[in-house]
Symmetry: C2
Subunit: 327 residues, 2 copies
């Protein structure tokens, strides 16, 4: 089947390709007779014309694609939801979101060269070289990043405040000797370290002892080992976990050790995954306002594309504690 081109539409509607282009792109500043406009639109629809994005990208150096780059760790339900929301919202503005998880061996540069996106949406910190190359190519970068990211074009999800929130909640319930359950997967450390920094900061601010840190595998025995270690010496009475899965492991470890939660040891997670409220005891956790984060990203993408649009205000209120039975 030969491809239908703008030349075909032009011939069919008896105008030039220029006019077809003007009509189909609703080019502003150019006045087209309503009759001509209708004729072109009808012909395009009748012939099933779809512009070649390759040609358009070659010509303009831009596409309607938003390249969303994920970190190299498993997405998890939070990022799933974020992408879901962003995809839907940007589709309403004619933009298609394409997600690439950075696990391939391929460099980021090769990828965006290949896709020619109009915006790169980074859900993980970029290497400076990548950021610089994108800047030179004139492709705006919008992204969520760790707190301390020095780039103002980035929506910072303050990981650090997650840790602070956890400690605040535990301290308010009278706990003084705290532990931090870190994930065993080293790929998560960028996020885990920020959250731990928040835990440390808030402990210090409140005059609590330095939190005891251990990596916890998602397995009962490993979690039990960590819990046992925390209970030796001055016993830990509350654990802030990297996320809900790690928290569930701690719960299982405590159970294996015959400890009661929250009486002997309290546990708080992050994410509010479905399994959190179904656990026994139901898990207290930090809920993230994913939709608000997504809205912010969407607005940032649109602002990057259209300078007349306002940059979204910085939202800080994107977390809160969901108190359940485990604390």
């Amino acid at each position: 089947m030969p491809r239908v081109t703008s030349a075909d539409v032009a011939r069919e509607s008896g105008v030039s390709r220029t006019t077809v282009s003007y009509v189909l792109n609703a080019k502003s500043g150019v006045v087209i007779t309503e009759a001509t406009r209708q004729r072109v639109l009808d012909a395009a629809a009748r012939m099933g014309y779809t512009p070649s994005a390759a040609a358009r990208a070659l010509r303009s150096g831009r596409s309607d694609l938003v390249l969303c780059v994920l970190p190299d760790w498993t997405f998890g339900p939070v990022i799933d939801r974020l992408i879901d929301h962003v995809t839907t919202a940007l589709a309403e503005h004619g933009l298609s979101v394409l997600v690439h998880s950075g696990r391939g061996t391929q460099s980021l540069q090769e990828l965006w060269r290949a896709v020619t996106p109009c915006v790169v949406l980074g859900l993980a910190p970029f290497a400076d070289a990548d950021r610089e190359a994108l800047r030179r190519a004139g492709i705006p970068v919008v992204g969520a990043a760790l707190d301390e990211d020095p780039h103002p074009d980035v929506f910072a999800v303050p990981q650090i405040s997650i840790g602070r929130l956890q400690v605040e909640h535990l301290a308010d319930r009278g706990h003084r000797v705290l532990a931090y359950a870190a994930p065993a997967d080293p790929r998560l450390s960028a996020f885990a370290d920020r959250r731990l920094a928040g835990v440390r900061l808030e402990c210090e601010r409140r005059g609590l002892p330095e939190p005891r840190v251990a990596a916890v595998d998602l397995a009962v025995e490993d979690a039990a080992r960590a819990v046992r270690q925390w209970r030796t010496g001055e016993p830990v009475t509350a654990v802030a976990a990297y996320n809900d899965e790690v928290a569930l492991a701690v719960l299982a470890g405590a159970r294996a050790m015959g400890l009661r939660v929250p009486d002997d040891v309290a546990v708080i997670g992050v994410d509010d995954i479905p399994a959190a409220r179904l656990a026994a005891p139901a898990l207290t956790t930090v809920w993230q306002a994913i939709d608000a984060q997504a809205d912010h990203l969407v607005a940032s993408v649109r602002a990057a594309l259209d300078a007349t649009l306002p940059l979204p205000a910085r939202t800080d209120d994107v977390f809160h504690v969901v108190a359940r039975e485990s604390t």
Copy 2:
């Protein structure tokens, strides 16, 4: 920064663009002096040349992109892992995987027109119109689908056998009155219905009564309601759940009702998510050989691109039961 083109590389290395193209694409059948080849390669590397994929796609009507289309429900850890594996494996063959979840309002056609992928990898069934349009455009479609999908180019993940496996496991442990816990989200029904069909089939084959079906929200009260209903009349002694999350809800519901698992009621899930082995009691579940499924998809993609490559054999052995404490 002006873009480095093949013409720049040609000038720099003192050859024509033709030669540059031949060298960089390792064009077979053309003999290039080793010295020339080196000169071109060096110049390209030195200048940081990256071919414009837009131009290449325009010229050849093909890119190095694999467009992976997801269904409109949340991915979940199984699909995350599948995509992860496929992305890594295809990257080794110079292919970049771009994932699009079909949630946008944009039609699939607009999307693949925009991306000009060399293959579309469908992790959800396509509309016949889309399939037909892709066929006409000469873009091969590779995909995983439900059992009954009549298209031979599709890798069928036999959802139905998941349900059968669950019943087999429960029946072997002496259970006769079974229930099926369906997900509340209607978007999952395509999968859930297939699994339920497997449950029904195996019950019938074994002469067990028709399974009692209820949709279970991921909330304790709703699950308790379902469990209560199952225990009225001839009491259900075992529940096959759509997936692990639903199974965890059933576990929580049973707990709320004061029932012992597995003594009063046994529960089996699907997926083996981390929370499954951390639950109390640890959840028996059906494990999917994601990596095998991914390998199959990767081989299918490569075969679609290169007719000399063999089509992968159909694998049926992609599931098995992980027996834990809940059954």
